[in-house]
């Protein structure tokens, strides 16, 4: 019987570049920026890293293929490097690779790096790409906002909610993240639109307006992981952060092809959450977790995810959102760093960026957005689109928690 990886791996260093339209930087600059912070934080020399995982999604539009861009950017000493890609869950996949390698005893110290240089395409939004040689013959030429906007139509229908009411709750989701990002100097978007601004923004893909969509950003984030024993030898004591759970639930095609899924939620997130809660020993997620970072690529996604994670009852996320449950001063702060919405969404880096925020918060290093003594946090990535996706969840906590 698998034991899981709870407390078997410690995070000893993390780094995150400033996110945004980094016109002056290529992917190699962003990786160096994140790695420099992480390696200093870990207090080790680069030569101590045994193996590395690179997560990048749109390789055609930025790094090119393979893990070599990481090896070359950091001039790693010919250690094993592996590239992983699993849509927007790519960053969490890089962390999973490094964490599993340490848990397996194959490495003492491993590096997980996520990077995305999106702003070299010459146009706004995510780059166009092929969906696959067969899929291109029958799937619509959809966009990310269009694929997620459909959640809203099905959600409103299922719960008998007026779209205007749903839009108001979605606006609160975005408003809250903008408010939070004011306190994050690394965030891409630090403006603070009003609820009215958000509601009146130009339509991108109905019912999603501009402010319902996250930033398309350049950035990199990384983690250095090792065993708790080595972490102790490097001086970590009460301030040791460990991985409590890392779980993945990818689609198998049911949402795309079977009528049992009604389109109003993500099928995979509850599956990943159940496994993660079990692995981490969480019984009541809303009570046990102190903060969460979820995949708020669009406002409706975050709202639906609150239910998919079991934090709000089905159909009740609107009420909880409008009641401020997930605001910075609420019962369970969500996206305290601004989230994908405002911190930004350099795809390959996003999963690691979420873990970075949990890490800072657990160590009391989150500056003016610091929460009061959090002990346990959760990150959630949703790679892909509602009809086919990868849900990736990590639970990160203080070693004793």
């Amino acid at each position: 019987m698998a034991q899981g990886i709870r407390d078997k791996v410690a995070i000893i260093g993390m780094g995150c570049s400033r996110f945004g339209e980094r016109w002056d930087c290529g992917h190699e600059d962003l990786m160096v920026e994140a790695f420099s912070e992480a390696v200093t934080d870990a207090g080790i020399d680069k030569s101590a890293v045994d193996a590395a995982w690179l997560g990048v999604f749109f390789d055609e539009q930025n790094t090119g293929k393979s893990a070599l861009p990481l090896s070359m950017a950091l001039r790693l000493p010919n250690i094993p490097v592996t590239r992983v890609e699993n849509l927007c869950a790519t960053g969490t996949e890089a962390l999973r690779g490094a964490t599993y390698a340490v848990a397996a005893g194959a490495c003492d110290i491993a590096l997980a790096m996520g990077v995305e240089k999106l702003k070299d395409t010459g146009y706004a939004g995510l780059p166009e790409r092929t969906k696959g040689t067969f899929e291109d013959l029958y799937l619509p030429n959809s966009t990310a906002p269009g694929a997620f906007a459909q959640l809203a139509s099905a959600y409103a229908n299922r719960h008998g909610i007026d779209m205007a009411e749903l839009k108001r709750a979605m606006a609160h989701v975005s408003w809250k993240s903008h408010q939070n990002a004011r306190h994050n100097p690394k965030a891409h978007l630090r403006n603070t639109p009003s609820i009215e601004d958000i509601l009146n923004a130009p339509m991108v893909s109905s019912p999603l307006g501009t402010y319902d969509c996250c930033g398309v950003s350049d950035g990199a984030a990384c983690a250095i992981v090792t065993t708790p024993e080595i972490a102790r030898s490097l001086g970590r004591r009460d301030d040791m952060v460990t991985v409590k759970a890392l779980q993945l639930a990818p689609s198998n095609g049911v949402e795309m092809g079977h009528e049992s899924w009604d389109g109003s939620y993500t099928l995979t997130t509850p599956l990943a959450a159940k496994r993660a809660y079990e692995e981490a020993g969480i019984r009541d997620a809303r009570r046990d977790l102190d903060l969460i970072e979820v995949h708020d690529c669009f406002s409706i996604t975050e709202l639906v995810i609150m239910e998919d994670l079991g934090l709000s009852p089905r159909g009740a996320a609107i009420r909880d959102v409008l009641d401020g449950v997930y605001d910075a001063d609420g019962e369970l702060p969500c996206q305290i760093d601004g989230g994908l919405k405002c911190f930004g969404h350099p795809i390959g880096a996003s999963g690691l960026r979420m873990v970075y925020e949990i890490y800072l918060q657990l160590l009391g290093r989150a500056g003016s957005r610091q929460l009061t003594q959090p002990k346990l946090g959760l990150t959630h990535n949703l790679g892909g689109i509602p009809i086919r996706n990868v849900a990736a969840i990590s639970v990160i906590g203080l070693h004793g928690a």
């Binding site: 395409t121 010459g122 146009y123 939004g125 166009e128 790409r129 092929t130 040689t133 067969f134 291109d136 013959l137 029958y138 799937l139 619509p140 030429n141 959809s142 966009t143 906002p145 269009g146 694929a147 906007a149 459909q150 959640l151 139509s153 099905a154 409103a156 229908n157 339509m203 991108v204 893909s205 109905s206 999603l208 198998n252 095609g253 049911v254 795309m256 092809g257 079977h258 009528e259 049992s260 899924w261 009604d262 389109g263 109003s264 009809i387």
Partner: protein, 478 residues
């Protein structure tokens, strides 16, 4: 046994462009157009062409049946491919047996009547003849006001089910260049109408009709309905020449469809058959560098003929196109700014398409014999029970469906923004994310009933290749 028509079908696109909207924009060029600013013409949506209209007319004719057909002929002067069987693609979309003999025929606006004559004289087994036309005319031309996009289909054969028996016919080939369009050109070169009337219609039609009457053993006085594909006034003059009462002229559909080119005689014939009663004699004329004449007698079987929407039904379903510029953009006559997303390469991996041609062209998915689940695409492992290699073919083209989720996407590239798409649930089970077509903004909601139509999926401008797939359109009652 007498050969003849077993059944009919038609297709007229949902979009109608009022001529007043054209004239408002073009009268500065020719104030005379103001006299023609009445009625409307049928126009293809951006994702329709002669081929997709042919498929719809064929479906309207067959009404879900899959009779064994010896041949499928596709008559048109505006088919999308000059060298790739258009008829073969239509046959595949109609899910006909591959033993069907397919033939594209064109070259003249007379091509459909000539094909009809040849079939009725030569065939021994059932076949399908579809005529479809999607003609372009320069902005500010008379043709722009006069043309209409449409298609008609005739199921031909022998036996007691014949609804209009072929009595006889004749053909005349004479190279009077009433208009022409050189290969590869987009537009017709028109000639003077008075000359065409005097030297063309008024001389050739009586000549060919005399032989047709002789062939059928009938006189002009027997004609109850005259299908004349030229201008009404010329038709009236032709009637006087022939000795046919001008009141016998069939509706030329100018008011609400426009002139459908090579499909016009068949479209008018289908329209006439919809109202025809047993015993009536119908004279069908084709004109273009010569003339064709065919005589039919309607039989008692017409009262039992399966009926689809036909011309009348399709004409009753309409959506007004309010933007003349959008129409010109659909036809590629003005170049709009589509942004960088339109640059995405639409290359088709032809070997993939070949492997998956049943899925893409015939919309055939699978049904699991272990658990009964219908699904698209058909895969090795069932989406529901996971059993391997248990799926038999299941065609979704005629399935009823409804909207599961939807969006109107202004970011995605579409020749007719916003791109509307969403998940669709089929009545027999199965779900698929698809691109909606023929919907206006604000029309979609969860549960909206849908029917499937064969449409252009993408146009690969770089390689000149058009690929097709099925799309959900508004359901309609027959």
């Amino acid at each position: 046994m007498t050969p003849g028509i077993l059944g009919w079908g038609a297709y007229v696109p949902l979009l109608r462009l009022p001529r007043a909207r054209i004239v408002t924009q073009t009268a500065w060029l020719n104030p005379g157009f103001r006299q023609q600013a009445h009625g409307e013409r049928a126009i293809c949506n951006w994702d329709e062409d002669a081929l997709t209209m042919a498929v719809e007319a064929g479906r309207d004719c067959l009404q879900g049946a899959r009779p064994v057909l010896a041949d499928l002929q596709l008559a048109s002067t505006t088919l999308p491919f000059a060298d790739r069987s258009n008829a073969g693609l239509v046959a595949a979309a109609l899910d006909l047996e591959e033993s069907v003999a397919t033939r594209d025929t064109g070259g003249s606006l007379r091509c459909a009547t000539s094909a009809l004559l040849a079939s009725l004289r030569g065939q021994t087994r059932a076949g399908l003849l579809i005529a479809s036309e999607h003609r372009l005319a320069r902005a500010g031309s008379a043709g722009e006001l006069r043309f209409g996009d449409a298609a008609a289909a005739l199921h031909l054969g022998y036996g007691e089910a014949v609804v209009a028996g072929f009595l006889g016919g004749a053909s005349l080939a004479r190279d009077l260049v009433d208009h022409y369009r050189a290969s590869g050109e987009r537009y017709d070169y028109p000639l003077e109408e008075r000359w065409i009337r005097d030297e063309g219609y008024l001389k050739m039609v009586p000549e060919v009709c005399a032989r047709a009457f002789s062939d059928a053993g009938l006189g002009a006085d027997a004609v109850d309905t005259l299908i004349f594909p030229g201008p009404v006034r010329v038709g009236q003059a032709v009637c006087r020449r022939l000795g046919v009462d001008p009141s016998r002229l069939a509706d030329d559909l100018a008011a609400n469809c426009g002139h459908a080119g090579s499909a016009q005689p068949l479209l008018m014939l289908v329209h006439a058959l919809e109202e025809a009663s047993p015993g009536q004699v119908i004279l069908v004329l084709g004109f273009g560098q010569g003339a064709d004449a065919l005589l039919f007698r309607v039989t008692d079987a017409i009262t039992r003929a399966p009926r689809g929407l036909g011309v009348t039904g399709h004409l009753s379903l309409r959506r007004e196109e309010t933007e003349y510029l959008r129409y010109l953009s659909f036809t590629g006559q003005v170049e709009m700014e589509w942004g960088a997303r339109a640059e995405h390469d639409k290359r088709t991996a032809q070997s993939v398409y070949y492997r998956k041609r049943r899925a893409i062209t015939a919309f055939v998915g699978g049904r699991c014999t272990a658990c009964g689940t219908a699904q698209f695409p058909r895969t090795r492992a069932c989406v529901h029970c996971g059993a391997i290699d248990t799926q038999e073919e299941h065609r979704f083209a005629d399935s009823r469906a409804q909207v599961k989720s939807y969006t109107e996407d202004w970011q995605a590239h579409s020749p007719s923004p916003p791109l509307m798409y969403g998940s669709v649930s089929f009545a027999e089970g199965g779900s698929l994310m698809m691109e909606f077509t023929d919907f206006a903004t604000g029309e979609l909601s969860v549960g909206t009933p849908l029917r499937m139509v064969f449409r252009i999926k993408d146009i690969d401008e770089k390689r000149g290749f058009t690929r097709y797939f099925w799309k959900p359109a508004p359901a309609r009652s027959v």
